[in-house]
Structures are given as structure tokens and as C-alpha cells.
């Protein structure tokens, strides 16, 4: 009797987990595909201005012009094309930042967690120092000194967002280090680098994958914030954050110029987080030994 009540509920939870993973994967995959295919699928050049056709409205409003599905911005550039090229910048920044910060954080965390003692003290000190650094202020200083560029944004974010990787890599390495299979690898005569790469790293990778999704979402949001402040990607590059910044002058009469990139940003970050949650559930369940 009670089983009949419990069973469907249990099934719904399992489906919900997988649904998150699938929806997140589809969103991120679609944005990635659009970003890669940008030059071939954009209807217009995202940089070409047309001052006769400024602030043309998107398709769902009265007076929309054919050929400009999402209208045009304050300089008459096609908004859909800019949005698509903006996806390129967001994905590029997200992925490169995660690769850079993942390498730094994982290396530091694994070394600290594995060797302990003085090495671990040094890693903990580095993490503490990093947490005391305000990302936006550093970006402000760096841009002030060197001028804004895409490379600079990736470098600043990549070199600053490694703390969570380090914390997670460190604590999971500490757990794995004491397991018997690591002892067996020592006794088998494996070298320390081989133990780190073949025995430890594959067993903490699932945790790091979840951190990577969180960091990617964070990096994309930070880029948007920095660009909004004028510290990120320099115009005329079409970053979503920059599009919002440029649109804020027109927001009272043409709210869609802010609304469209805002929604795009929300959907992408939402998708990445769904993917991360799904990944965590999936890999966490597979971890039971």
C-alpha cells in the first residue's frame, strides 16, 4: 500500500536530477555551438553601424523591421548578431578562465593536500591571501595601468579565481591520500608524480568538474560586471555585459536593449549551474564504492 505511494515520488526525484543535467547540457551545448558557428549564422556584421536604423524594435513589437529579428542597438548594429558574437566572448572567457584557474588551483590544492606539513601551510597561506584580494579592484588597477583588452580580462580572472579549486582539490586529496590503494601504489614502487597523476587525480576529478561549472558561471558573470563598469572587454567587441552598459542610456524608451542580453546571460548561467548540479548528483552517486 505505502509502496504504491512512495514509488512514483522516488522516480520523480530521479527524473528531476537527470532533467537538470539534460536541460543544463542542452543550454550550454547550444550556446557553445552558436558561439563556434557565429560567423556563419549571424544575419549581419555585428560591427557595421547604420545610423538611419537606430533602435529598431525586436520582432514581437509593432513596427519591427524584417531582417533584424532582435532589432538594432543605439548605433544601428544588428542586435541578434551582436548577441551571437557576445556568446563567443562569454564562452571564451568562461572556458579559458576555468582552464587557467583550474590548473593553478588543482596543482596547489593537490600538492598541499598530498604533502601536508610546510607545503600545506604555504598553500593555505596562498589561499588566504587570494581570498583577501578583491577581484574588481584588481581588475580596475590592471585596466588602469595596461588598458582594457580581452586577454587581460581572461588573465585577471584566471589568475584570481583558483581559490575554490585549491580548497576542493586539497580536501579531497587529503581523503584519497590515506586510502589503501595509494599505500599499495607506494609499495608497488610508483613514483610520487605517477601517484599524483594516476591514483589521486582521477579520483578527485569528479569534484573538480563540479567546481569548474561553478567557476565558469562566476567568470561569465564577473566579465559582464567588469564590462558593464568599463573594465572588461573594450568596445566595439560585443560582450553581453558591455551591451547592457551601452543600452542603459536607452533603457526607459527601449527596454529590450537591456532585457535581451540580460536574459541571455541569465539563461547561460542558469544552464551552467544546472549542469553542475546534475554532474554532482550523477558523479556523487557513482562514487559509492
Amino acid at each position: 500500500m505505502s509502496g504504491a505511494v512512495v514509488m512514483p515520488a522516488r522516480r520523480r526525484v530521479a527524473w528531476g536530477k537527470r532533467a537538470g543535467l539534460v536541460i543544463g547540457g542542452v543550454i550550454v551545448g547550444a550556446v557553445l555551438l552558436v558561439a563556434i558557428l557565429a560567423p556563419w549564422i549571424t544575419p549581419h556584421d555585428p560591427f557595421v553601424q547604420n545610423l538611419d536604423n537606430r533602435l529598431s524594435v525586436p520582432f514581437w513589437m509593432e513596427g519591427a523591421k524584417p531582417g533584424h529579428l532582435l532589432g538594432t542597438d543605439g548605433l544601428g548594429r544588428d542586435y541578434l548578431s551582436r548577441l551571437i558574437y557576445g556568446a563567443r566572448i562569454s564562452m571564451l572567457i568562461g572556458l579559458l578562465t576555468v582552464v587557467t584557474s583550474g590548473l593553478i588551483g588543482t596543482t596547489l590544492g593537490v600538492l598541499g593536500g598530498f604533502f601536508g606539513g610546510k607545503v600545506d601551510d604555504a598553500v593555505l597561506f596562498a589561499i588566504t591571501c587570494r581570498l583577501a584580494i578583491p577581484v574588481v579592484l584588481v581588475a580596475l588597477a590592471v585596466v588602469g595601468l595596461l588598458g582594457s583588452s580581452l586577454t587581460l580580462v581572461i588573465l585577471v580572472l584566471g589568475l584570481l579565481l583558483w581559490d575554490r579549486f585549491a580548497v576542493v582539490a586539497r580536501s579531497t586529496t587529503m581523503q584519497v591520500r590515506n586510502l589503501d590503494y595509494v599505500s599499495a601504489a607506494w609499495a608497488a614502487g610508483l613514483s610520487t608524480p605517477a601517484i599524483l597523476l594516476k591514483e589521486i587525480l582521477p579520483n578527485i576529478a569528479s569534484h573538480l568538474a563540479v567546481v569548474a561549472t561553478l567557476e565558469m558561471a562566476l567568470a561569465i558573470l564577473l566579465e559582464a560586471a567588469l564590462s558593464f563598469l568599463g573594465l572588461g572587454v573594450p568596445p566595439p567587441l560585443p560582450s553581453w555585459g558591455l551591451m547592457i552598459a551601452e543600452g542603459k542610456d536607452y533603457m526607459f524608451f527601449s527596454p529590450w536593449v537591456i532585457f535581451i542580453p540580460g536574459v541571455a546571460l541569465f539563461i547561460l548561467v542558469f544552464g551552467i549551474n544546472l549542469l553542475g548540479d546534475g554532474l554532482r548528483d550523477l558523479l556523487g552517486a557513482g562514487d559509492t564504492r
Binding site: 599505500s183 609499495a187 608497488a188 614502487g189 605517477a194 582521477p202
Partner: protein, 335 residues
């Protein structure tokens, strides 16, 4: 099977034991917190023994007596605080990791944590060969296949991951990994305690067969006296980090000399349910290795302790076929 093990090494003579442990000691420092003092825990205290080639030394004792620490120190997984381990006359601490791996290998208790869950069985078994760095890939594959067959696993099972095997099969994998380099000594740290009773006998028989075939020497650590009686040629009884009695297996089980050994033997459950749990007169408290009693370390729990036991530290007394550390044995007044 290969008979590579019959090869006589230069250092290996009739007089050289397969493994010799000299005055091994390992202490741990426990932080006392913000205000407390650091405490020192003596996990292994001045342990010495030797095992002849082909012998099996069983090491028994309660939880926390230092059995597993002893195993890890002998394997050099934990560096000893003092003392040394010699395998066939060579000091283990002076050897590099590859040479050490060729001499001594472990088999751990829990086959669920001793195999890397992300690697295939054949890669796990190949690991010690690959770590040597100079064995051609084809030879590695051949030796892995041979070893898997020898422990009773199929080539198809070699392609699987540990999670797809049962506990007994996993322990066979651990045995294959330990023996694929043809080591001289195998440290078995409770190799059957995590297994179902029905599987334990299979694993013990496999270990015994392989020992005869490959002329191996075992250090067999267990809290299961029945298992030790079955496999060991000699037995060492550990209490709070020291070997308090050591004798040939038959003699120890027939005529235990140390009061602690007697209590251990008396604590074995009988298959008769009506008899209940035996009362061995040791009290309810477990000994604390951070706070070792003065005099004889066993005296607070000893059922036959005398006042002098709390003061005088017992020295090892030779018995008919071993040694025991008990004051009451001196002069042989009391059995």
C-alpha cells in the same frame, strides 16, 4: 609456473632469515590543542623478530595494539622512529622504491579501498611491473595474464573495473598485484577480515598454495586466532606495541605462557550458543597507547598480577620454543 624464486641471491644463505626486524619503534605525536601538552603515542615499541624463508609469522593482538602500524613501518609506508628492517640481509631503508617493491609487497584488509576504482583490473595488477620502468609492454601483459589466471580470474575480468567484482574477487586482484613482481616477503594485513566467511577459506588456501609455489615468506597480521592457527608456523602476540609472547604456533595454542595470550585464547567464541560470551577477566576498558602503564604494561588488566608487576619492567624470558615477557615466568616457579 616460473621457478625464478629458487635463484639464490648472493646475500641469501641458510643463516640469513628472509626478513629480520631489529628494535623497530614508531611513535606518533598528538597535538594537545591550544593549551594542552603534546602527547606521544608509542604504537610500535622495540619490536624485534626474524622469519626464515618460507615461514609464516602470525601477529595477533587487540585493536589498537599496533599491528597495522607495524605492517606499515615494515613496508616503509611510515618511516620508523628508530630500528631497521632487513630483507635477505639488505636494509630496506637503504633501497630505492623499485628495489624495495621487488622484495616486499602488501595485501591490505579491505579490498574495497585497496583497489583504485578508476582503473581496470589488468592495469591495477600491471602497476608494480610498470613502476619498474624497464619491463617491455608485451612482457607486462603476459605476466599480468599469467598472474590473473593463477589467482583464479579470467582475462575478461581483467578488463573490468573493481566495482564490477565481488569482495573475494577483489582480494584475488590484490593478491595478484602483490605477487606479480615475485616478491620475497608479503605483508598480509588482515587479508580475510573484510570477506564473507565462505570466501575466507578460499583466499587462505590460495595464499597457502602461492606461498609454497613461489617460496614466499608471510607476515600474517590478524585478530582472528582461528585463521592464524591455520596459516602460521610461528605466532607473535602484540600488546600495546610490544611483542609479549612469541612461540611456534602449535606450542602457543597448546600451552600459552603469557597471561595475555591465555586471555586472548580464552576469548575465542565457542560455536555453542548456550555458553554465551566468555569472561576472560580482562575488564571492560581498552588500553590507551598514549598512556602506557609503568612496570609490566599488562599489569592493570592481568588476572594474576602481583604488586611487583606494577614496578618492574619484565624482560623477555626464553621458553621451550619461543620467548615471553612476564615477571611470573622468571625462575619458572609459576607456569
Amino acid at each position: 609456473m616460473s621457478t625464478a624464486t629458487t635463484m639464490v641471491r648472493p646475500q641469501e644463505t641458510a643463516a640469513t632469515p628472509a626478513i629480520e626486524v631489529r628494535n623497530l619503534r614508531r611513535t606518533f605525536r598528538i597535538k594537545g590543542g591550544l593549551l594542552g601538552k603534546d602527547r606521544e603515542v608509542v604504537a610500535v615499541d622495540d619490536v624485534s623478530f626474524s622469519v626464515p624463508t618460507g615461514g609464516v609469522l602470525g601477529v595477533v593482538g587487540e585493536s589498537g595494539c599496533g599491528k597495522s602500524t607495524l605492517a606499515r613501518v615494515i613496508l616503509n609506508l611510515l618511516p620508523p622512529t628508530s630500528g631497521e628492517v632487513l630483507v635477505e640481509g639488505r636494509r630496506l631503508s637503504a633501497l630505492d622504491r623499485r628495489a624495495r617493491a621487488r622484495l616486499i609487497q602488501p595485501i591490505f584488509q579491505d579490498p574495497f579501498s585497496s583497489l583504485n576504482p578508476r582503473r581496470r583490473i589488468k592495469d591495477i595488477v600491471a602497476m608494480p611491473l610498470v613502476a619498474q620502468g624497464n619491463i617491455p609492454a608485451r612482457q607486462v601483459n603476459d605476466r599480468v595474464a599469467e598472474m590473473l589466471t593463477r589467482v583464479g580470474l579470467s582475462a575478461e575480468q581483467g578488463e573490468r573495473f573493481p566495482a564490477q567484482l565481488s569482495g573475494g574477487q577483489r582480494q584475488r586482484v590484490a593478491i595478484a598485484r602483490a605477487l606479480v613482481l615475485r616478491p620475497r616477503i608479503v605483508i598480509c594485513d588482515e587479508p580475510t577480515s573484510a570477506l564473507d566467511v565462505s570466501v575466507q577459506a578460499q583466499i587462505l588456501n590460495l595464499l597457502a598454495e602461492l606461498r609454497r609455489e613461489l617460496n614466499l615468506t608471510y607476515l600474517f597480521i590478524s585478530h582472528n586466532l582461528a585463521v592464524v592457527e591455520h596459516v602460521a608456523s610461528e605466532v607473535a602476540v602484540m600488546y600495546l606495541g610490544r611483542i609479549v609472547e612469541r612461540a611456534e604456533a602449535d606450542a602457543l595454542f597448546r600451552a600459552p605462557r603469557h597471561p595475555y595470550t591465555r586471555a586472548l585464547l580464552a576469548s575465542v567464541l565457542t560455536p555453542e550458543p548456550g555458553l554465551g560470551v566468555p569472561d576472560v577477566g580482562l575488564g571492560d576498558t581498552l588500553p590507551d597507547p598514549a598512556n602506557i602503564p609503568p612496570g609490566c604494561r599488562f599489569h592493570p588488566r592481568c588476572p594474576v598480577a602481583e604488586p611487583r608487576c606494577a614496578v618492574q619492567v619484565p624482560q623477555a624470558v626464553a621458553t621451550t620454543d619461543g620467548a615471553a615477557e612476564c615477571l611470573l615466568l622468571e625462575g619458572a616457579a609459576q607456569p
